[in-house]
């Protein structure tokens, strides 16, 4: 942060969970932010306040509470549109999370636009949520799924994309803005420029990027953009699909039910306007409100400050971890091309054993395949350990991580 330590301390005070201890009275060192983030009082209080004071169903009833609830819900939509620089708020669709957003696109857009022999392109470093929906779709349609490969530096091989685009059969390229395992930031500009030139739609999975850096979706120029609230201080169970209006208008509804209709007759129904056409049933109102509070919190700190803080932490961690004998770090060392996610393996010790031993010191890191088995195969490993940072993490916590790895080395006689 710009005003360094004092503001960081203030930030930590906002997170009640960071005050607790775990295991044998060890202060919690939470380094699993790529998986989910902790919540500040401001978010917890917003949800609490909603249930205590404003709870009602939205968009229908005329009484005071319903009006308040609707306003809170729709205000959050405006905040989110503004946060990712989208002019048309009707293009912001609330979903459960990035996974549901991508499945919505695969179902509502994919099933009517993908035909036999067409190609959907994804990448080798995608999360399962940006692979499996496309497998389901292409299998059903007898279409083909292709992968943009990854080089040994953890960066995408864009020549692969050119090769697929040349076939003239590609209908969609779906890729993440930032890898959840390697932290690689994709060369989004190059990918979208190539796709636009070829008249191919693009879907960007922003789940890892939006929480950590300023993302201007309008400027990106993609056609679909997805991200989740819980990875950016918001509650679980709420996320966003943004899609260009002209594309949304070519899509069939995802779920049928209340709120998504204009008129329902015995044998036919007309659809509600955007975005409601894609928001069937009573939505997750309280968590939308909480998500809005998270956006306020992040905006107040400033996304550029957050990115700067994480660059410093990541640089520090890369230096410290590189000095641990036997520790192998995956992905690029070029800090401008990576976010605050560091995957590593420690000699021949299985990541689960690493995670369990350092858990004794109160340190929470992730171990496993991180829902990216295609990438694990590419790296030729069964699993990795992963430390991922956020606004409340400190250099002292990274020191603790490094110290605890020395304990692993002792136990495993490395």
């Amino acid at each position: 942060m710009q005003s360094a330590q004092t503001s960081l301390e203030n930030i930590r005070k906002d997170f009640p969970i960071l005050q607790r201890t775990v295991r044998e009275n060890k202060p919690l060192v939470y380094l699993d932010n790529a998986s989910t983030t902790q919540k500040p009082n401001q978010v917890i209080d917003a949800i609490n306040d909603y249930y205590r004071n404003h709870n009602a169903n939205i968009h229908r009833a005329v009484y005071a509470l319903a009006e308040e609830a609707t306003e809170l819900y729709e205000k959050a939509r405006d905040k989110i549109a503004n946060f990712i620089n989208i002019k048309n708020r009707d293009e912001i669709i609330f979903v459960r999370g990035t996974t549901e957003a991508i499945n919505l696109v695969a179902y509502s857009w994919g099933r009517s636009h993908i035909k036999e022999g067409d190609i959907v392109v994804t990448t080798e470093y995608e999360h399962h949520s940006n692979i499996v929906p496309w497998q389901l779709l292409t299998q059903e349609k007898e279409a083909n799924l292709e992968y943009i490969g990854m080089d040994d530096n953890g960066e995408l091989i864009l020549d692969d994309l050119d090769k697929y685009l040349e076939t003239g059969k590609v209908k969609l390229v779906a890729f993440s803005l930032m890898s959840n395992v390697l932290g690689t930031i994709s060369d989004v500009e190059a990918i979208i420029t190539k796709c636009k030139k070829a008249g191919v739609l693009t879907l960007v999975d922003g789940a890892q990027a939006v929480p950590h850096m300023k993302v201007d979706v309008e400027k990106l120029g993609c056609d679909f953009f997805a991200f989740s609230g819980h990875k950016m201080l918001g509650p679980t169970g709420i996320g966003v699909l943004w899609a260009r209006k002209s594309v949304l208008e070519t899509m069939v509804p995802f779920h049928g039910g209340g709120d998504m209709i204009r008129e329902v007759h015995k044998y036919e129904t007309t659809w509600n306007d955007l975005p409601y056409k894609f928001e069937a049933g009573t939505p997750n109102i309280a968590d939308v409100v909480g998500f809005g509070a998270a956006i306020d919190y992040l905006s107040k700190i400033g996304m550029d400050n957050i990115r700067q803080h994480e660059i410093e932490l990541t640089k520090y961690a890369l230096t410290k971890l590189s000095a641990v004998k036997g520790l192998h770090i995956y992905g690029t060392k070029d800090i401008s091309k990576r976010g605050g996610v560091i995957s590593f393996n420690f000699a021949d010790v299985h990541p689960h054993d690493v995670a369990q031993i350092i858990d004794e010191e109160g340190i929470a890191i992730r171990s496993g395949h991180h829902c990216a088995q295609v990438l694990m195969e590419r790296l030729n490993v069964a699993a990795t350990s992963r430390a991922s940072f956020y606004i409340y993490n400190t250099k002292e916590e990274i020191d603790k991580l490094v110290d605890s790895l020395n304990k692993v080395a002792r136990i495993f006689k490395l």
């Binding site: 295991r23 044998e24 010790v349 299985h350 990541p351 689960h352 054993d353 369990q356 031993i357 858990d359 004794e360 171990s367 496993g368 395949h369 088995q373 694990m376 069964a382 699993a383 304990k407 136990i411 495993f412 006689k413």
Partner: protein
Amino acid sequence: MSNADIYHEMIIDYSRNPINYGKIKDHDTTFHDSNPLCGDSIDIDMKIDDGKVSDIKFHGKGCAICMACSSVLTEIAKGKSIDEVRNITKNDILGELGLENLQAVRIKCALLSLKVLKFALYSYLGKHLENNPDVDKLKEEAANLY
């Protein structure tokens, strides 16, 4: 017990130098399974002669707990009759390594190989003993191990 205490000498030794690690080319039965959440992945090959497990080997990738338990399991099973092997319980494995109080999230690491062994045996018995209702019990037991 403290969770780090599970990493005692025996576990580390077994994971570093697994016993019965490898493949059996002319096996009589084999089975593979993995734990979807953690990626532990184990294959067990068995040679069966005169109703006995004359040879057993495992291979795959896993954490120290998984590798140590696979080693112990194959040591226990080797040379035993089919009946004895099918009656190996989870406590036989956990007890051998002092893992009786292993936390729930790691139990699957410890018992994956036992599950694979039981399925391998089930597949062998299914092929060799027709109409034996007892065999289905084994499958059910394996499927519900953890």
